[in-house]
Amino acid sequence: MAKIVDPDSLNQNTEVYIYTDVKAIQLVEAGNLSDTDPGAESGVTGQALYSFLKEEWQSDSDLNVLKFPIKMIYEAQFEFQNDWLLGDSDGTKDAQSIDLIRDAGFRVANNNENYAVIVSLGSFATDVDLAYYQQVQGFDQPTTDFDKSGEINEPVLISDSDNDLTGYLKLFLREYAKLYDEYNLLDEQGLSSLTYAAYKLPLANEADINVSTVDSDIEADSDLATMTIDYITGNLFATHDPASDYVTLDVVYATDADAGDRWYRADTDISNTSDNPSTDANWVAYPGEKQVGTAYYAYNRIIDFKNIAKEDPYQWVQWQLRLDTDINDNVACDSYGTVNGNVAKDMLYWVGDKLTTRPGVFIANHNANDQNDIDLYDITVDGGGLDTDGVALTSTKRQYPFVAAGNMVFSTNLVADCDAVYWMYFETAAFGNYNSSDAVLVKDQNGSDITGSITAQNISFTFDYDYATDGGRTPGSDAPVAVAAMGLDSAEWVDATFTITRATGLSFPVNAADERNYSNP
C-alpha cells in the first residue's frame, strides 16, 4: 500500500481517531493507512495529517471548540501543542501512532518527546533487509533495529525528559551476503546536534558476490575459528621530533638512523625525548607496525588470516561484523577494549580480484598465493592521525613486492625416473650466463635455489620479481631463464629456455627424450 500524502486519504474514525476528552489523536492501521514494510511505502506524512485535521476542525463543531493540536513549522517538522499527543482513548502515548508518521520530525510538547524522522536514499537489495542504529558513540554501545525493514522512513526518539540522544546517530545496514553500508548522520552532514525534523541520508546495499557460505558453516569451520582480529591503541602517527612533548599512546615514526625508520609508541607522557626512541625507555615498539616489502608501516586493526586463502577469511570477517558481541581478540594484550562486531568499522572490500583493506587494517599471515592480490591501506605518517572511530584520516595503499609464480611441467619419463633432477638458471646474467662455469641459479621468493628432485609432473616455483638481484639482475625486469633436467635410467639430459615475467600462472614445459643408452649394471 502507498504512503498517504493526501489528506483526503484520511477519515475520522477509520484511519484517525480524535479523543477530545483526553486530547489524543490516534492513528490506526485501517482503511487507507498501513504500517507495512518498507516504511517508505506506508504510513502518513506529517503534512497530510496536519492538513486533514485542519479540515476536520473547520467542519466539526465538537472539535473547533478546542485549541488546534498541531503547529506545522514546515513540511518536514511539526509540534503537537495545546496538550495534544499521539495517544489512545485513555490519553496514553500510542507507539503505533508514532510509528505511522512519515517524512516529518515532530515534538510532543506535553511529554517533552522529540522525534527525528530518518528517510533513507538509495535502494535496499530486498524489502526484508533491516537497518539498525546506534545513538551513543562507542564500540561497546548497543544498537536498535528500525521498526520496519526495507528503505527507511520512520521516527526515532532523540530526546525526552530523561534522555538526550541528540548528539549522535549512526545507521548501519549489514545483511548476510550483501555489501555493508553505514552513515554517521551528524559527522557526514556537519550537524552539531539533532532536532525534531526529517533527515534524508544515503543508505543502500546490494548483493555481495564474494559471500556464499552460510553463517553456520563459517562459524563451524575449525580453520576459520583460529582467525583473530586485534585492535591496537595509538594516536598521533606523526614523525618523531625530539623537541616535542608527547603523551601516553602517541605513536611516532622515527627516522633517525639509529632508530631505523620504525614506529614507536609512548609508554608514558614524555618531554625532552631523545633522538632515538629505540633506546629510550619511555618508548616501546608500536605493536601495529608491519613490514610490507622493505619498509615498515602503521596499522591499528590486524586480521590474522592464518594462511587461509583469502576468500574464506573475507567471509569470516563479514560475519564477525554482524555479531553483537566483542570481536576484539586482544592478541597483543593492548588496552583497546570491547569492539562489538555490529558497530565495528568495516574492514575489507574487493576491487576486482584484489582484497583491499580499509584504512589502518592489516592482513597478517596471508596465504602465499594471495600475495599479489592484497592491497593494504596504512595509517600514513603525518596524515592527521585517526578520526573519532579510530580510522586513519590519511591512508596510503601498500603492496607486497610482486611474486611471479608458475609451474615447471616435466615429461612423464622424467617423473618416472627416481634419479631425475632439475635446475633453473638465469640464461643471461651480469655475473655469469647459463652454460658457463659462473652460471647463477635462480632463487625463489624465500631465497632458496630453484633446484631439486623431480617428484611430480608439476613443480611450482616463485620469484621475487620486484626485488631479486641475484646474478646482477635488474629488479622489476623480466628474467630469461633456462631449466635443465635429467634422469638416469629413463630420461636424457634436456634444457629449455623461458622468461619469468610479472605474472602468475607461468607454465614452463620440460620434455626429455627417453633414455636408451645409459647403463650402469
Binding site: M1, A2, K3, V5, D6, P7, D8, S9, L10, N11, A30, G31, N32, S34, T45, Q47, E55, Y74, E75, A76, D103, V119, L121, D181, E182, Y183, E188, Q189, A198, Y199, K200, L201, P202, L203, K345, D346, R358, P359, G360, Y377, T380, G383, D387, V391, A392, L393, T394, S395, T396, K397, R398, Q399
Partner: protein, 102 residues
C-alpha cells in the same frame, strides 16, 4: 432522488476513491462505500483503473464526480515538495583519504 455519493463533498468523494485504490492494491476492502459510486466512476470516460487514481487521473475540483487527467501523481508532487525542503546528502565514504600509491 439523488444518489448518496452525488451529495458528498469532494474530499469525501476522493476518500472513497483512495479506498478503492487501496483495495485494488491488495489492502482492506472499501466496506461502507456509497452504493453505486465505484461503478459510476468505472463507467466514465477517462477512468484509468483504480491503481491509477491520483496518479494519472483525479476528479474535477469544481465537479467532484467528473474525472480529469493528472499530469503528476500526488506522490510525485509530494516528493518534489520534500526534495525542496530537505537537502540530498552526499554518499557514504568510510575509506578515508587515499594518498599516492606505492
Amino acid at each position: 432522488m439523488a444518489k448518496q455519493y452525488e451529495t458528498l463533498p469532494r474530499r469525501k468523494v476522493r476518500y472513497w476513491l483512495f479506498r478503492f485504490r487501496t483495495e485494488a492494491e491488495g489492502g482492506p476492502k472499501a466496506t461502507g462505500a456509497p452504493r453505486g459510486m465505484r461503478k459510476y466512476f468505472e463507467e466514465q470516460e477517462g477512468f484509468g483503473g483504480w491503481i491509477d487514481f491520483a496518479v494519472t487521473w483525479d476528479v474535477n475540483p469544481e465537479e467532484p464526480l467528473q474525472i480529469v487527467p493528472r499530469r503528476f501523481s500526488v506522490w510525485e508532487e509530494w516528493d518534489a515538495t520534500l526534495n525542496m525542503v530537505l537537502r540530498d546528502m552526499p554518499g557514504v565514504d568510510t575509506s578515508g583519504s587515499e594518498a599516492d600509491v606505492l
